[in-house]
């Protein structure tokens, strides 16, 4: 208390004004009260939680806006395409989920995973076609992608909201700190998904279409094209005395196809007499790396959860076929939005890489399988 008096006296010496004196008193009292209050246990934490939650709420609002935007675009699309009740359809797909197969007994987990994923895709496709049986494959794939985007945005929104409410309820500063750290990343994901939907609806090739673009440049020289598995096409051509079998998803619909099963069928069809498998795919770059840079290595270049990738690995092991991988680097946003010029230009360089691999590592008379992995939206064959 004596401190306040001393400070007040000092202050009064400088100013003779009564109002200014009163203000000084109030200021010092407020300052000291605040200082004292901060020493009470829990007050500091509550203040921090308040500021952190405000930041997270702001990010959550941004994610919600992307979700609302995506829902309204999808509803508009469904209405245009003659769906009797677009809202009811959206309500059915927005919370749709696939339960992971049991992993504590890993035997046959890939087949179980493949069954669940394929069944889910087929079920959504049937739901769309039953609402309007006259849809063309292009429109159907656009509706499938829109439903996936809405589903993904809804999941991001709900999970962030869940942890925000939980952190507030438990008054947990640690949960709030973690949430505040990851929320900006999820805002970026949500933004990328939202942009991707608009790109898919226009039929513009995306960055992930690099693999199918490379494959299509080979396939345009092929006179023999045939379906090898669901939504997947292959073609044969001759290159420097070698038989080249090129596999890609069937475009220009927005699909990734089933390249694993496709390659497996092609190799079985060739009786296992294949000397090389070459996979081409888009890959996520690290921060600091340039978009469109190319790297090569061994293994299946494929961002698949498992079933497709393992199908190639298994058939390669069965017949002892080496697998080469050529990747083109880009960011997550660049992979799911418009194909950037750097990526488009990299496609021709990848073709040179592939040709060099074939010439260096195979002999004339042998058979090589080339797989262009990725979403083939806007890329035919």
């Amino acid at each position: 208390m004596s401190l306040i008096i001393v400070l007040a006296q000092a202050s009064s010496q400088g100013s003779q004004n009564g109002a200014a004196l009163a203000f000084s008193y109030i200021f010092y009292i407020f300052f000291i009260a605040l200082l004292a209050l901060s020493f009470f246990p829990g007050v500091q934490q509550k203040t921090q939680i308040m500021f952190l939650s405000r930041d997270v709420e702001q990010k959550l609002q941004m994610i919600e806006n992307y979700l609302k935007d995506s829902k309204s675009i999808t509803e508009k699309l469904l209405k245009e395409k003659g769906f009797p009740d677009p809202k009811a359809f959206l309500d059915r797909v927005i919370d749709r989920f696939v339960i992971d197969p049991v992993s504590i007994e890993p035997t046959d987990i890939i087949n179980r995973m493949k069954l669940l994923m394929r069944s889910n895709e087929d079920t959504v496709r049937e739901m769309i076609m039953s609402a309007n049986p006259n849809l063309d494959p292009m429109t159907r794939s656009q509706i499938e992608i829109s439903a996936e985007v809405v589903n993904a945005l809804n999941l991001i929104f709900k999970v962030i909201r869940h942890y925000l409410i939980m952190a507030k309820k438990l008054n947990s500063i640690m949960i709030m700190y973690q949430l505040q750290m990851v929320a900006p990343i999820y805002v970026k994901y949500a933004e990328a998904y939202s942009k991707a939907q608009k790109v898919f609806l226009q039929g513009i090739p995306i960055g992930d279409g690099l693999g199918p673009l490379v494959a299509s440049k080979f396939l345009m020289k092929s006179s023999q094209k045939f379906t090898v598995s669901k939504d997947t096409i292959a073609g044969t051509l001759e290159f420097e005395g070698r038989k080249l079998v090129v596999v890609k998803a069937e475009g220009p619909m927005a699909t990734v196809g089933t390249p694993g099963e496709g390659v497996q069928n092609v190799i079985e069809r060739e009786g296992g007499k294949v000397s090389r498998i070459i996979t081409v795919d888009a890959a996520l770059k690290l921060e600091g790396e340039e978009t469109g840079t190319i790297a090569e290595g061994m293994g299946v270049a494929m961002g698949d959860p498992g079933p497709e990738k393992i199908a190639i690995e298994r058939v390669a092991v069965k017949y002892g076929i080496p697998i080469d991988a050529v990747i083109v680097k880009m960011s997550m946003e660049e992979a799911i939005t418009e194909m950037r010029k750097e990526v488009y230009q990299a496609a021709d360089k990848v073709i040179d890489y592939v040709k060099r691999i074939i010439l260096e590592r195979t002999k004339p008379g042998s058979t090589v399988v080339l797989v262009g992995v990725g979403n083939t939206a806007g890329i035919a064959q």
Binding site: Y189, A192, P205, L213, G251, K285, S331, E333, V343, A380
Partner: protein, 64 residues
């Protein structure tokens, strides 16, 4: 892994049209309905078939 582009990019989508027989190349703005390998008419140089060789997005400007 990198999540997004470093800056707010303004993109312009271009369609590259090429002739199957000669070196004729033309670049134009993307139109809805374009897709890679779509046949889009005949070449003004040798009347060969024209096809869409690529569709890509170009950055117009970058706002930091």
């Amino acid at each position: 892994m990198a999540i997004s582009a470093d800056s707010k990019q303004v993109l312009k989508v271009k369609t590259v049209v090429k002739c199957m027989q000669c070196d004729y190349t033309q670049e134009r703005d993307f139109q809805v309905g374009d897709f890679v390998l779509k046949l889009v008419g005949n070449c003004p140089k040798d009347n060969g078939p024209l096809y869409i060789a690529g569709i890509y997005a170009e950055t117009l400007n970058q706002k930091k």
